[in-house]
């Protein structure tokens, strides 16, 4: 764009210059005629003066671009020609003066090429400079980004950035540090609240439970009274489970289970299968297990245990007496199947809190499972076919 502009501008400028030159030459020729020099001596290769009959159009210079054949080069060259009618004395003259544009053409080209080189040089210089600048000047910014990316809300150290001389970056870092400080404080407060809430609720619960326990030991209670006490006792048990479940959910959401290790999920399934087999036997549920390949995953050991046991418990809980459970694992896939009736409620949201099929259950087990899966990028699917509920865990295998 700039190149084109320069090309045309230079061309125009030179044209103007040549025009001025021609006007000048014409004035010289006129002076010569006035001085009485012979017309033939004025005629040459670039200049032509002829006497013409009187005409009315005088003193109007006309510039034309024309091509004139050059014998030496055997080529047509571009010329700028001035033609003018003048009255000198009593005679009328037609004066034609031409000037080759070949030099100017060359000049423009030279200028254009030089400019082009300058431009390319500038662009290359800019790219190199940009690279150097982005490498050095943006370094503190990149450092900030990296630290932010690796920051976990649960980490014990507050975030600290490298010192930088760039005003904008030091401002940015300062603002982020203040902001993160606030977030950290809020997080710690929330964490403290969760722990306090659990503590403060469980202690009175413990009192209620032990009081009802003591009450039950009294000899003079009749069945009616004892059933009241039992109802309080049952609710206490349920409340404490609910509390534990909600605290667990909050802790997973707050990412308070930080430490991770390599977990063998197949082994975990096998261990829990052995433990829960007894439970299943009590309900006369046949339980089968089929483990293939290996499934390792990087996750918190406690959460992996919660994940597997919750699915197993869910299966045992919702299988009727005499039903069956099938557990299987292959590369990247874990399956939990159990027999049971289809869920008829179309609006039943399996993985949401307090969604339950009967009033006895808390409706937290599967929402905890979902939370853990989300945390470790495990896909969980549910389907029902041929009288079997099927939960599938798909591990992210890359």
């Amino acid at each position: 764009m700039g190149g084109v502009l320069i090309y045309f501008n230079t061309n125009k400028l030179i044209h103007k210059d040549v025009e001025n030159f021609l006007v000048n030459r014409e004035e010289i020729a006129t002076t010569q005629i006035v001085n009485g020099e012979s017309i033939s001596s004025l005629n040459n290769y670039e200049q032509k003066v002829i006497i013409i009959p009187p005409i009315s159009k005088l003193n109007i210079p006309i510039f034309t671009d024309t091509l004139i054949y050059d014998i030496i080069d055997d080529k047509y060259h571009p010329y700028l020609q001035l033609s003018l009618n003048r009255k000198i004395g009593k005679q009328y003259y037609h004066i034609e003066i031409s000037k080759s544009l070949i030099e100017t053409k060359l000049l423009v080209r030279e200028i254009f090429i030089t400019m082009l080189f300058v431009f390319i040089g500038l662009i290359v210089l800019m790219i190199v400079l940009n690279l150097l600048i982005s490498r050095n000047m943006w370094r503190p910014f990149k450092d900030t980004l990296k630290k932010l990316k690796n920051y976990k809300s649960g980490q014990s150290e507050p975030i600290k950035f490298k010192k930088t001389n760039t005003y904008e970056f030091s401002q940015l870092n300062e603002i982020i540090e203040i902001m993160m400080g606030k977030i950290r404080n809020d997080y710690l407060n929330l964490k403290e609240f969760t722990e306090n809430a659990s503590h403060e609720i469980l202690t009175p619960l413990a009192v209620i439970k032990s009081k009802t326990d003591m009450l039950m030991q009294l000899d003079n209670l009749n069945e009616h009274e004892l059933n009241f006490v039992k109802a309080i006792y049952d609710s206490t048990v349920k409340l404490s489970r609910l509390n534990q479940g909600l605290i667990l959910l909050a802790k997973i959401e707050n990412q308070q289970y930080g430490s991770e290790e390599k977990i063998d999920l197949n082994q975990l399934m096998l261990n829990n299968f052995k433990e829960y087999k007894e439970m299943a036997d009590l309900k006369e549920i046949s339980i089968r297990i089929d483990l293939k390949d290996t499934n390792f995953i990087q996750m918190n050991a406690n959460l992996s245990q919660v994940l597997i046991t919750n699915l197993l418990r869910n299966a045992i809980k919702h299988t009727k007496k005499g039903g069956k459970i099938e557990l299987s694992a292959s590369q990247g896939i874990l399956k939990f199947l159990n027999s049971g009736d289809e869920i008829t409620n179309k609006n039943f949201k399996m993985f949401e809190r307090f969604q339950k099929q009967n009033s006895e259950s808390l409706g937290l087990g599967l929402s905890i499972v979902k939370k853990i899966c989300d945390r470790y990028f495990i896909k969980i699917n549910y389907q029902y076919s041929k009288g079997l509920h099927e939960f599938t865990l798909l591990l992210d295998t890359d």
Partner: protein
């Protein structure tokens, strides 16, 4: 046997006191870590029941103190917090057992007895009640000197009953003791009845008295009078 309860919740302390006193233990109470430290320094306790959240500090500090100065004392951590960190650090520091609130007195009693036997304070691992003799080392039960053939669960069941004799044990608490906290998986807890029935039959076959009484369908009681 002397027990120190380090707990600040008065109502809970009262219940623990009453229940454990009834079991024939000598009970002392410390509501704060500083009182606990004083008492531990001066007296000798067999078992320490330790709450972690105390008004003037963490029970874990008391735990460290006990481990340093009176390492022969058995320790049961009792806490409302189930933060896993606490659990792990508590057991790492040498606590014998861990119970989260709310807990059952009968379960606590079973744990105290178990630590007591493990630590073998009396040099005796045998529990004798009338015609029943339970050898906790060999996990064997005999009635009138005749061995009973019991399943693992039946053994644990009779031990739990004898330890908590004359106490109403709910079906939930029995399941929790025998199988862990799984009672919510069952629509009905009547399967306990089968275990009780089998145990009762085995005991009576050896000429034992029928101690196991059902309490209005809510639980059972090992009745001695």
């Amino acid at each position: 046997m002397k027990i120190l309860i380090v707990e600040d919740e008065k109502e809970l302390v009262d219940d623990l006191n009453e229940f454990l006193d009834d079991q024939g233990y000598i009970i002392e109470v410390a509501p704060t870590t500083s009182v606990a430290r004083e008492k531990i320094f001066v007296y000798q306790y067999d078992i320490l029941i330790l709450d972690l959240g105390l008004p003037d500090g963490s029970g874990l500090d008391v735990l460290k103190y006990v481990k340093k100065h009176k390492p022969q004392t058995g320790i049961i951590i009792l806490t409302a917090r189930d933060a896993l960190d606490d659990k792990i650090s508590g057991l790492d520091l040498g606590a014998d057992d861990y119970m989260t609130k709310p807990f059952l007195l009968s379960e606590l009693n079973a744990r105290i007895k178990s630590i007591h036997r493990r630590r073998n304070f009396d040099g005796n691992s045998t529990i004798i009640f009338n015609e029943i003799e339970i050898d906790t080392d060999k996990m064997r039960v005999s009635i009138n000197d005749q061995n009973l053939t019991l399943t693992r669960k039946e053994y644990e069941l009779i031990l739990y009953f004898v330890i908590n004799k004359n106490k109403v044990l709910t079906k939930e608490s029995i399941i929790e003791h025998l199988w862990g906290d799984h009672s919510d998986m069952f629509d009905s807890l009547d399967f306990i009845y089968t275990h009780i029935k089998n145990l009762r039959k085995k005991m009576q076959d050896m000429g034992g008295a029928d101690y196991l009484k059902s309490v209005y369908g809510i639980g059972y009681k090992f009745e001695t009078d």
